[in-house]
């Protein structure tokens, strides 16, 4: 365990699970992690190891941070949100009092606009969680915040009530129409962007959703930033396992690391259709790797 000399860099620490609660369809884990909480910025992640030092498991699991409270009765805490319901995975099932080994905060956060522009935050299911602390930062800067929450069904929706407190308008959509507008975020977004005259779109969700959000933002003429959570085996940029094809300023596509260069990318820069491969025109792509 160590705290790197630089004050803003990530830390490696043991964190206690303070609470583990079911909220709607999701599981909320609050961890006592002062170093991470102080350094948190919306969009950053933590890489966790929770199966104990003697286990056969040697990689980390990287998750976005939901919220951080740098000051509190227990010192700084962070909160993570995981899929809940039946069949909790082994992380979500950890009881209060358990200890986790964690590294964070990792990655590049959402970039905040300098000016008080109109923003729309688009979240799909539980992936929407990191958008909530972002909404607070945007409002601090005088930005208008609109929120679109989407999910397959009502139980998958995350944070609808909280969004109503945090945003100027909240739109809800479900694929099955169980609540809100029937349809996906991609279906609903174009009209929402036009109605709110949005300048910047922030999105978090699975790649297929982010792809449509980025396309809708581009059509509307808005900037977009997408939090792309591909599997990140180490979280620290060392293993090179979490690559995403991203177009640079020079027009060249490079395979860049989701954890180190992301997890937040400009939506118009990600080659969404090519996430699972190395595009043939990528810098350094070789015959046979396509």
């Amino acid at each position: 365990m160590s705290t790197p000399a630089a004050g803003n860099g990530p830390v490696h620490q043991l964190a206690e699970v303070l609470t583990s609660k079911q909220v709607g369809g999701h599981r909320h884990l609050t961890l006592v992690a002062p170093g991470v909480a102080e350094r948190f910025r919306p969009g950053t992640a933590v890489a966790l190891r929770h199966r104990g030092d003697a286990s056969a498991s040697v990689l980390r699991r990287t998750l976005p941070i939901f919220t951080a409270r740098p000051i509190g009765a227990y010192g700084g805490t962070i909160e993570l949100v995981l899929p809940g319901g039946d069949g909790l995975d082994d992380l979500a099932a950890l009881p209060a009092g358990s200890t986790l080994d964690l590294v964070g905060p990792l990655g590049r956060p959402f970039a905040l606009p300098k000016d008080p522009v109109a923003t729309t935050l688009v979240g799909d299911g539980v992936d929407a969680a990191p958008l909530f602390p972002l909404a607070a930062r945007l409002r601090e800067r005088g930005c208008e915040v609109h929120v679109l929450l989407a999910a397959a069904t009502e139980t998958g929706l995350f944070g609808v009530l909280e969004a109503r407190r945090a945003a100027k308008t909240v739109t809800v959509c479900t694929e099955d129409g169980s609540v809100g507008i029937r349809g996906s975020a991609g279906d609903v977004l174009p009209e929402l962007l036009a109605r709110t005259s949005t300048d910047v779109v922030y999105a978090a969700g699975p790649p297929a959703v982010l792809h449509r959000v980025a396309a809708a933002a581009e059509d509307h003429g808005a900037w977009s930033q997408a939090l792309v959570m591909v599997a990140m085996p180490c979280g620290t940029g060392l293993c090179g396992g979490c690559v995403v094809p991203v177009v640079g300023e020079d027009g060249l596509t490079r395979m860049v690391r989701g954890c180190a260069e992301g997890p937040v990318f400009r939506g118009d820069r990600v080659r969404w259709r090519d996430l699972a491969r190395v595009p043939g025109d990528a810098w350094g792509a070789q015959e046979g790797y396509r």
Binding site: S2, C234, L238, G240, G241, R254, V278, G284, Q286
Partner: protein
């Protein structure tokens, strides 16, 4: 991580610590520097550099396997020119003892890589990654064949001036290790590294390969006994050749085991993916281990090199 007890030597290359960072496990070096003092390492081996930039393999590239990781990154790197312009100068400026890993697709590429890398200021050593496919011979792995191994090492050795140490990295787990090692040493390798990880393959429940590249390599604690066995064999066969061990080193005790099996230094790799600050911790543990193993005073690293063989000899 300082102090004479930890210092070791690889064919005249003096290292203040036997702890090296294995190729491909430090990013460009900068990522790891956020977590540990790179200048305190024995040495850092860079990711393998190829002549041209490589985008690497399609994801997934790194997945968990029992007690280890299965991986195939496809040697993603910025190419020799990019490496020399952007990555190496930073390492040199940070006073990191640097071995540059080179990977060629032909003998000519290896030779050119060796020549241009050894000319760059601040390069202490060249580690020849022999785990590459020979483009001119049906993508056969250079390091699987003693003849090709010798050819590659000789091609590099010719281009690298004396004073820059040449390390040959052999693969653990398959191939005629003794013959490969002799071929490398006869061709001019001063140090042998074992090494490259053994081949591996895993499937998901739908029987699709887990890796984008289909097949890959197994690293981590799962291969540690194989690495120890390779060191054991090589130290018996070539007792005068300095060896570097790699494979599942997570603790000070793992380092001591590798030293005892015949290694003069060890490489830390997979452990960094879990604990990027592992080198500092392992160094502390190693000091404790040396205290434990010493007689009147703490043991020194060179005292332990091959110690398990001597103990074996005593009992016979």
């Amino acid at each position: 991580m300082t102090g004479a007890p930890l210092s070791t030597s690889l064919a005249g290359w003096e290292l203040p610590s036997p702890l090296m960072v294995a190729s491909g496990c430090a990013g460009s070096g900068r990522e790891l520097a956020a977590w540990c003092d790179l200048s305190a390492l024995g040495a850092l081996v860079t990711r393998s550099v190829t002549l041209d930039p490589r985008a690497g393999h399609a994801p997934p590239r790194v997945v968990e396997s029992p007690s280890g990781v299965l991986h195939s990154n496809g040697l993603q790197n910025p190419g020799l020119q990019g490496f020399l312009a952007t990555e190496l100068p930073w390492l040199v400026q940070q006073r990191v003892r640097t071995a540059v890993s080179i990977a060629g697709a032909t003998l000519g590429e290896y030779a050119e890589l060796g020549r241009r890398v050894a000319q760059a200021p601040g390069v202490a050593a060249v580690e020849v990654n022999l785990g590459c496919a020979d483009r001119e011979h049906h993508d056969r792995e250079f390091g699987a064949d003693p003849y090709l191994t010798g050819k590659v090492v000789a091609a590099v050795r010719r281009e690298v001036p004396r004073g820059v140490t040449v390390l040959a990295k052999l693969r653990i787990g398959d191939g005629p290790l003794g013959d490969l090692a002799r071929a490398a040493v006869d061709a001019g390798a001063e140090v042998l590294v074992v090494g490259n990880p053994p081949h591996g393959l895993s499937f998901d429940p739908a029987l699709r390969p887990l890796l984008g590249a289909v097949t890959g390599y197994v690293s981590g604690p799962a291969v540690q006994p194989m690495a120890l066995h390779a060191l054991w064999q090589l130290h018996r066969a070539l007792p005068d050749v300095p060896l570097v061990g790699g494979g599942g080193v997570r603790r000070g005790a793992d380092v001591v085991a590798m030293l005892a099996a015949g290694a003069s230094a060890v490489q830390i790799g997979t452990a960094l993916l879990t604990d990027p600050d592992a080198p500092g911790r392992i160094a502390t543990e190693l000091v404790d281990e040396l205290d434990r193993l010493g007689g009147s005073g703490p043991a020194r690293v060179p005292d332990l090199v091959g110690a398990a063989h001597r103990r074996e000899g005593d009992s016979q």
